[in-house]
C-alpha cells in the first residue's frame, strides 16, 4: 500500500485539519472532533440550510461542496463510512438560520439510517428538516426501482441547484423541491479500472484482472452490472450515453449538462478523450450540451475509472446551475 499518510486511523482527521488550514476564510468547524464543516458565515439568518454528508475518500465530494450557493454544512464519516446520527444532527444545528434544514446526501443505508435519526433529534430541538436522496446511478437498479438507486457523482447538480435556491431565499419546501427535481432528471453511470485501497486495512476494495473493466461501478468499488474486457474510450462512452439517454428519455431538442468525472487515478487527459465522444454522441441525437464539467468531482480514493452524468435541463435548472457559487473546490 503506497499512500502519503501518517497513522491510518488519523487519516480523516488530519485531512480535515488540512482543509481548515488551507481555506480558513471559506469553511470552519463547529465540532470539537472536526467531523463537521460549515461555510464560514454559517448560520445564514433566514435562509434554508443544506446539510450533506457521507464517508470520506470521495474528495471533492462531500466536503468540497460547502460554500456560498452550495451546501451549508457537511457531516464527515470515516473512509467510506457514514457519519454518526449525532454528527448529522449537529451539522444541521450549526447551519440552521431559522428557515429549516435540507438533508441532501446519497442513498446509502448507513447514511440514510443515521440521517433519519438526526431528523428525529433535530425535531426535538425545533429544527424543521426535509430529506432528499441522491440516487442517480442507473447501473444500480432498473428504472422501475429508481427510488432504490445509489447516489453518485450526479448529486453535485443537486447541490448546485438547491444551493442557488437557498441563496436566493427559497423556503424549505421549495429548496427541497428543487433538489428533488434535479435528482429526478439526473442519470449517471461509471466504469472502474482498478480498485481502491482502504488506508486502515491496506486491502484492495475488489479484484479486477488485467485487461478487464467493471461497468456500472459504484464510488466505493461496488460491483456494477457487467465485468468485461477493457474497451476503447469511444466504446465506453457509447455504452454509457446509450444507457443515460434511454433512462432520461432524452430526445432531439433536449438540453443537458454533462459531467465527465474522474474516479481518482485517471488522468484528466483521458476524461477529455471521453468528453469528445460524449459530445459527438449527443450531437448525433440532436441533444445540446448547455453546460460541461470535466474533472474530478466525486472520487473513490485512488480508483482508476470515470463516470458520466447527464442532467436534463430546462430554463430554471440551467439558471440555477449558472448562479454564482464558491467553495474551496468549486466556483461558478
Amino acid at each position: 500500500m503506497k499512500k502519503i499518510i501518517n497513522d491510518p486511523d488519523r487519516f480523516v482527521d488530519e485531512m480535515i485539519e488540512g482543509i481548515l488550514k488551507a481555506h480558513p476564510t471559506l469553511v470552519k468547524t463547529p465540532a470539537d472532533d472536526l467531523r463537521i464543516l460549515v461555510r464560514a458565515d454559517a448560520p445564514v439568518a433566514g435562509h434554508v440550510g443544506i446539510v450533506t454528508g457521507g464517508g470520506s475518500g470521495h474528495l471533492p465530494l462531500f466536503k468540497g461542496y460547502v460554500g456560498t450557493g452550495l451546501c451549508s454544512g457537511v457531516a464527515i464519516g470515516n473512509v467510506f463510512s457514514s457519519p454518526s446520527s449525532q454528527q448529522c444532527f449537529e451539522a444541521a444545528k450549526a447551519v440552521d438560520g431559522g428557515a429549516g434544514v435540507l438533508f441532501l446526501y446519497g442513498n446509502y443505508g448507513g447514511d440514510v439510517f443515521n440521517f433519519d435519526l438526526a431528523t428525529d433529534l433535530a425535531e426535538l430541538e425545533g429544527i424543521e428538516t426535509r430529506t432528499v436522496l441522491g440516487r442517480d446511478d442507473v447501473a444500480s437498479q432498473p428504472k422501475d426501482r429508481k427510488a432504490d438507486r445509489r447516489g453518485v457523482a450526479g448529486i453535485i447538480f443537486a447541490y448546485k441547484a438547491a444551493g442557488a435556491a437557498a441563496e436566493r431565499g427559497d423556503d424549505l419546501d421549495q429548496v427541497a423541491a428543487v433538489a428533488e427535481d434535479v435528482i429526478e432528471h439526473t442519470a449517471t453511470m461509471g466504469i472502474g479500472l482498478s480498485p481502491t485501497i482502504l488506508p486502515t486495512t491496506g486491502h484492495p476494495s475488489f479484484e479486477l484482472p488485467d485487461g478487464e473493466m467493471e461497468i456500472g461501478i459504484g464510488i466505493h468499488g461496488e460491483p456494477g452490472i457487467h465485468r468485461g474486457p477493457l474497451e476503447s474510450a469511444d466504446q465506453i462512452a457509447d455504452r454509457i450515453i446509450t444507457a443515460l439517454v434511454a433512462d432520461l428519455d432524452l430526445t432531439s431538442g433536449s438540453r443537458v449538462a454533462v459531467l465527465v468525472n474522474g474516479l481518482g487515478a485517471t488522468p484528466l487527459e483521458e476524461l477529455y478523450v471521453l468528453f469528445r465522444r460524449v459530445h459527438t454522441l449527443l450531437a448525433e441525437r440532436g441533444i445540446t450540451i448547455a453546460k460541461s464539467y470535466v474533472g474530478e468531482y466525486a472520487t473513490s480514493l485512488e480508483m482508476a475509472g470515470a463516470s458520466i452524468s447527464l442532467l436534463e435541463l430546462n430554463d430554471e435548472r440551467l439558471a440555477l446551475l449558472e448562479a454564482p457559487a464558491k467553495s474551496p473546490f468549486f466556483e461558478e
Binding site: 446509502y108 439510517f113 438507486r149 461496488e222
Partner: protein, 216 residues
Amino acid sequence: MRSVQLQESISRALGELVGYADELRDLDQALGDGDLGITVSLGAKAVIEALEALSDDASPTEIARTCAKAFANANPSTMAALVAGGLLAGSRGWATLDDVSVADAGAFARLAGENIANRGKTQLGDKTILDAIMPAAEALEAAADASSGLDEAIGAARRAVEDTTPLQSRRGRASWLQERSIGLQDPGATAFLRFLESWRAANDASAPADTVTARS
C-alpha cells in the same frame, strides 16, 4: 441471567465474534463494500469497553441500551444503525426485567427484528439479517431451556443463511448487484449467525454460568 453475567456473556461472545471479521469482510466485499468486518470488530470492541465502564448492577435494559449506543457510533454503517435500533427496540420489552430467560431473549430478538424490518423497509426473503433473526427469535421463544434454545436458534439462523443464498438481494448495497447477487451469501445474516455461534463457543465451554456467578 442477571446483570453481571449478562454483561460478561455479551463481552465474551463479542470477543469471540471479532475472529469472524475477515470472513464478514470478504462476504461484504463480494456483495457490498467490504466494511462489515470493520463494523463488527470496532463495534464489538466499543461494546466491550462500554460494558466495562457500566456498573455491575445495571439493568438488562440499561445493558442493551449501552450496547446499542456503543455499537451505533463505533463505525456508523447500515448494520451498525439497524442493529443499534434493534437493540433499543428490544430493550423496551425488557423494561421491567432484571433476570433474562431464554424466552426473554427470544422476545427481545423478535422486537429487534421487527424494528429492523420497519426501518429497513424489509420483508422476510429480501435476503438480509432479518431472515436470520426472525426464525432464531422463534426458536428461542419456543425453547425448553437456554442451551437447547441456543442450539435451535443457531440451526434456524444457519438454515436462513443457506436458504437465502440462492435468492436475489432486495435491500441495501447488495440489491445493486441485482441478478449477480444470486448465489452470494448475505453478510448481515451471517454476522448474526456468527454472533449466536460465538455466544455458544464463548459461554458454553470456556466459562459455564456458575463459574461466572461465583467470580462476581
